[in-house]
Symmetry: C2
DNA sequence: CGGAACGTTGAGCATAATCAACGACTGTGG
DNA sequence: CCACAGTCGTTGATTATGCTCAACGTTCCG
């Protein structure tokens, strides 16, 4: 997939559709930041928001660019990446529906955000959104709680990246994806569509593609997982044993 | 140093002194969260705050404990650690004067915080502090900005832990400490008192003590750093060359 | 059918971990 | 004052985990 730049302000009819947002039938109304607003207050948000579709592989915001937009994710999966000068990449966050994208209170974006799958975003001018934070304390409070939760997640990931083995990381990732996609059944066989490539798993876990592949093969040999067609459809055959590999005792 | 538990609510005259806070002559008045409040509003904070001294090695909050306090750091260095079941440790954050300690909007602490050096804290009841957030939007806004900044730091550290070599990590740490302690002169020899042990450096960087030691020896052999008495006093002889090792091109 | 992107597998290697010994500094008690 | 233990840090030898390099399969398009 060729990477493309998607300017989030201004219009770009070739690569994305812009429509006024309609909050009434929004699937993430209750899990995104909007959930903190009453139907009435939501009109203010509605007024400044635009729906936008980004294709898989499109860059939503570039490191170094001026930060002038903010968005809620309605559908799809995005990645936030940090880079070293010589090109090593680390995915520092995966974003799912209900999460938000964008640097607030800062003039410059310092992390690149890319759509992994096709995605729908509900975008706002950054400054207009900041104004809304002033107007609606409940919105700011929910944002604060979300950022605090993200910080806790980030700290969990530091433990993974600093101290866990390849096997623990990969097992933990499968478990994380299953949880994040709402498949929590502890007993039956769970089928998960892994939303990322092997390379992205590697960049998320601080490993190489080859190591990811070998660990998945290992999990398959242990009959803990199995793959369907396409290398993305993952059947979790033994969720309990999988979870045991995440944090051994 | 034997680890001790410091209950942050209730009094514990043996291990810490409790005094009413006096904000007027507070050294972190302008760099901590209090900086967002006017002298007048500060009285509200003053009323619910207590000064507390913790000794080096004391645990300030235990993972799993009820989260009922919140504090600003006035003096000293603390560490926030995450643990695996089998005892591997990762320091997920170092806290300096002006930083805050404590989990807000959550009933349970999920990370252990320990004093690395002797430290002064300005502590509040968690719920009383949360009430202040409702009363003073400027306080909440500053907190939000601080948490956003912490999240950015955490993401930087993910890149380090996931993708950097031992040499880059150790060089980066020395540079980080020098910056954090306000020694920024790019030319002259800078002397930094490293506030942590080799073991803590290892736990912060996701390495072992031995690797830390070898990398420091290597930096010494390259005449980039030198040590004074006590293994903590570090002279940075060539800040430019040090910074080159942090992110190679 | 062919090409390209993606994924798997293998062989060898390198970086950092592990295991182990030793050295330096500190405080304690004889 | 010195012997001693204890903590912390350094250095060396060896090992192992995951990386690199390379070849080969697979899937999915056109």
């Amino acid at each position: 997939v060729t990477l493309e730049i998607l300017p989030m302000s201004g219009s770009d009819p070739m690569s994305s559709l812009q429509q006024p947002a309609r909050c009434g039938d929004c699937p993430v109304r209750n899990i995104s930041l909007c959930g903190s607003l009453s139907d009435e207050d939501l009109l203010s948000l509605n007024k400044i928001g635009r729906r936008r579709i980004v294709r898989a592989g499109q860059i939503v915001s570039w490191e170094g660019d001026p930060a002038n937009s903010f968005a809620n994710i309605v559908r799809g999966v995005l990645k936030v990446t940090a880079l070293t000068m010589d090109g090593r990449e680390q995915i520092v966050g995966l974003l799912f529906p209900g999460d938000f994208v964008g640097q607030l209170f800062s003039d410059r974006v310092d992390l690149t955000v890319t759509a992994i799958t096709e995605a729908d975003l509900c975008t706002y001018s950054r400054t207009a959104f900041e104004d809304l934070l002033d107007m609606f304390p409940s919105l700011e409070r929910l944002l604060l709680k979300r950022v605090l939760a993200s910080l806790n997640d980030a700290r969990d990931r530091m433990l993974t990246l600093g101290r866990k083995t390849a096997q623990e990381r990969v097992a933990g990732f499968i478990d994380f994806i299953a949880k994040r996609l709402g498949k929590n059944g502890p007993n039956d066989v769970i089928t998960v569509e892994i939303p990322v490539s092997r390379g992205e798993m590697a960049d998320y876990l601080g490993l190489t593609i080859e190591t990811i592949s070998r660990q998945l093969t290992r999990l398959r040999a242990m009959s803990i997982i199995a793959f369907g067609r396409g290398n993305r459809e993952c059947h979790i055959l033994a969720a309990e044993r999988l979870r045991l590999l995440v944090t051994p005792d």
